[in-house]
């Protein structure tokens, strides 16, 4: 079985949301309300328990000009967001039940028959992806179409994408393809095209990487995501210090204190 990945190319995305619909239909994901965020054509805002693919609509700031907002003065990019399936995944490390596992394809998968809805993955995901569905009780996120991959099929979103903005394939091949695509775009004059794959961070790369234009922060992609396990060492050191303080402090207090305390209510033992 080969290790796979998504390459989502925002320069090819047309914002049709076929990926969102395909994901919902294939995976039986519940509705998330008919709401408008008011931010361009976005109506879910972010990925979450009921949105496993989310098309971002990145509007450049309209420049006031003759006759209002002239077309050529507005940039409009689309990018289909998804769980990053981190190489070093915060949710997977934190999951106390072992419900979240790494599949043979390299994806991060929440086993719905094991999850007990403790909610710890929600706060340990550096990309704010996984979320507890309060009406169901369990945590949900993109499964990387584990069921489809098992039988050799392409994930639903990639299959439904009409422009091949969402590419699916072997991870190393896709990384190479992404580099080539960025070179090609730059060669054509799109100087701000760049590849987002946080390899040199504690997340150590992802199984869902992106080609975006300009600063990745515009797409809410953090340049330096952190896997929260990096804080464990400092935390347990503080915990050990606290334990030593309690042990030493209480020993000292009981050794030094006059046995009888300072009043009635105390009965000392005969032993």
């Amino acid at each position: 079985m080969s290790v796979t990945a998504f390459l989502t190319d925002s320069t090819l995305c047309i914002g049709c949301k076929a990926c969102e619909v395909a994901c919902k239909e294939w995976n039986g994901v519940g509705e998330d309300g008919y709401n408008w965020s008011g931010y361009s054509y976005d109506n879910t805002g972010s990925v979450g328990h009921s949105t496993w693919r989310h098309v971002k609509f990145v509007e450049g700031e309209p420049q006031p000009g003759l006759g209002g907002n002239a077309g050529e003065q507005l940039s409009w990019e689309f990018s289909s967001d998804v769980c990053k399936h981190c190489e070093e995944a915060g949710c997977l490390e934190a999951c106390p039940t072992g419900s979240i596992v790494r599949t043979e394809f390299g994806g991060v998968y929440v086993q719905p028959d094991v999850c007990n809805g403790c909610g710890y993955c929600v706060v340990t995901c550096p990309f704010g992806v996984v979320q507890r569905n309060e009406s169901d009780g369990r945590a949900f996120k993109c499964t990387f179409c584990y069921d489809r991959q098992k039988v050799g099929l392409t994930p639903a979103c990639a299959k439904a994408c009409p422009t091949e903005s969402i590419k699916f394939g072997e991870i190393n091949e896709l990384r190479l393809a992404a580099q080539e695509r960025v070179e090609e775009l730059r060669g054509r004059g799109m100087d701000d095209a760049r590849f987002y794959d946080p390899l040199d961070t504690s997340v150590q790369g992802t199984h869902a990487f992106f080609i975006v234009r300009g600063d990745p922060r515009t797409y809410n992609l953090p340049p330096n995501p952190e896997v929260p396990t990096i804080y464990l060492k400092t935390g347990w050191r503080s915990s050990a210090l606290g334990a030593a303080l309690l042990l030493g402090g209480s020993l000292l207090a009981f050794l030094a204190a006059p046995g009888g305390g300072n009043g009635k209510g105390h009965r000392s033992s005969r032993r």
């Binding site: 515009t218 809410n220 915990s239």
Partner: protein, 344 residues
């Protein structure tokens, strides 16, 4: 959503000078650009490196309900109480204090389990917590510690109560083994919750990972001491431990106030900031002063007041940190700024 005032643009204000300027632009360029439209509420959130994606939060807010901060309080007190109990038993030979401490530990462990199970999205699956042991997951470590602690503290309390009616060697043996074991497990139990929330993506929590476990643990000691005092134990060691805990809590408060980082905003400003401060004063300087007076004058009322203040402070502190975590997760700016200025 951030709302900034609409910038006043003098060049767009109608005036004789503006009309003359238009005339000269028209002569020079052949056309004049309109000043543009500024609808009410403008400028709107936008997608940019400075504002992220329309200023929408990247992180998800903690979805834990009211049970979890209350568990932080109860579990902290139970763990510390087990340690105090064994010290009272083996060092001070104070049987009443030892018994009360064992009972507080056992009752706290039971209540803790109930609270944690109550918060689960699927409470009937609570046993899934003991499917695996993962040392890299503070919640897994905590679940195992709590399960073992509950067993040991329960056995210790059982042995203590039964020995009144049936003082046999096996009963004493259970107490003598389970008691010290519950104290050993109480050490991690009383402060691991600081590691639990510190090792997350929530900025205000992970920026305080170096002191949160110590802070939560000391808060647990403070409440264990106070509970035992309110149960009628007046051993001077309790007052001294309470004094020490209040002193550390005071230091923690000063430490927080003196640091100025954007990530600390939620524990300093707004409602969550004030809640943190109220919790800090109630568990730090207030009981410290009362206990010093109590030690000097032997005033029992002062000790009881200190105990009540500490307990209230300990509860408020846990809710304040949870609240601050929610506020912090809504900050869209901080996760995008991680590592800025750090050599890559």
């Amino acid at each position: 959503m951030t709302t900034e005032p609409v910038p006043d643009r003098p060049e767009a204000r109608p005036s004789e000078a503006r009309l003359l300027e238009m005339r000269s632009i028209a002569e020079r360029e052949g056309r004049v650009h309109a000043a543009g439209i500024r609808p009410p509420g403008a400028p709107f959130p936008k997608a940019s490196p400075e504002t992220g994606y329309y200023g929408m939060p990247l992180l998800k807010q903690p979805q834990w309900k009211w049970q979890v901060p209350l568990y932080f309080f109860v579990g902290g007190a139970a763990g510390a109480s087990a340690v105090i109990g064994e010290m009272a038993r083996w060092v001070a030979r104070d049987r009443q204090l030892a018994r009360h401490a064992r009972l507080v530990a056992a009752a706290g462990a039971m209540l803790s389990s109930g609270l944690l199970i109550g918060d689960l999205g699927r409470p009937e699956r609570f046993l899934a917590m003991l499917r695996v042991f993962k040392k890299q997951s503070p919640m897994s470590v905590g679940a195992w510690v709590l399960a073992a602690f509950g067993t040991c503290s329960g056995a210790a309390a059982f042995s203590d109560l039964v020995s009144d009616y049936f003082d046999a060697a096996p009963v004493r043996l259970i107490g003598n083994v389970a008691g010290p074991l519950s104290a050993a497990l109480g050490l991690p139990l009383h402060n691991y919750t600081g590691v639990l929330i510190g090792a997350t993506a929530v900025p205000v929590w992970n920026r305080n990972i170096a002191t949160l476990p110590l802070h939560f643990g000391i808060s647990g000691v403070n409440s264990a001491v106070s509970t035992l005092e309110l149960l009628g134990n007046e051993h001077a060691a309790l007052n001294w431990m309470g004094m020490g805990a209040a002193a550390v809590e005071t230091w923690e408060g000063v430490h927080l106030e003196r640091r100025s980082e954007a990530a600390l905003e939620p524990v300093k400003h707004g409602a969550s900031g004030w809640l943190t401060r109220i919790g800090g004063v109630l568990s730090g300087p207030a009981p410290l002063a009362l206990r010093v007076v109590a030690a000097a004058t032997g005033a029992r009322k002062m000790r009881r007041a200190a105990a009540v203040s500490s307990l209230a402070g300990s509860i408020v502190t846990r809710y304040a940190w949870m609240y601050a975590g929610r506020v912090s997760a809504r900050n869209w700016r901080l996760p995008l700024e991680i590592g800025e200025g750090r050599p890559r």
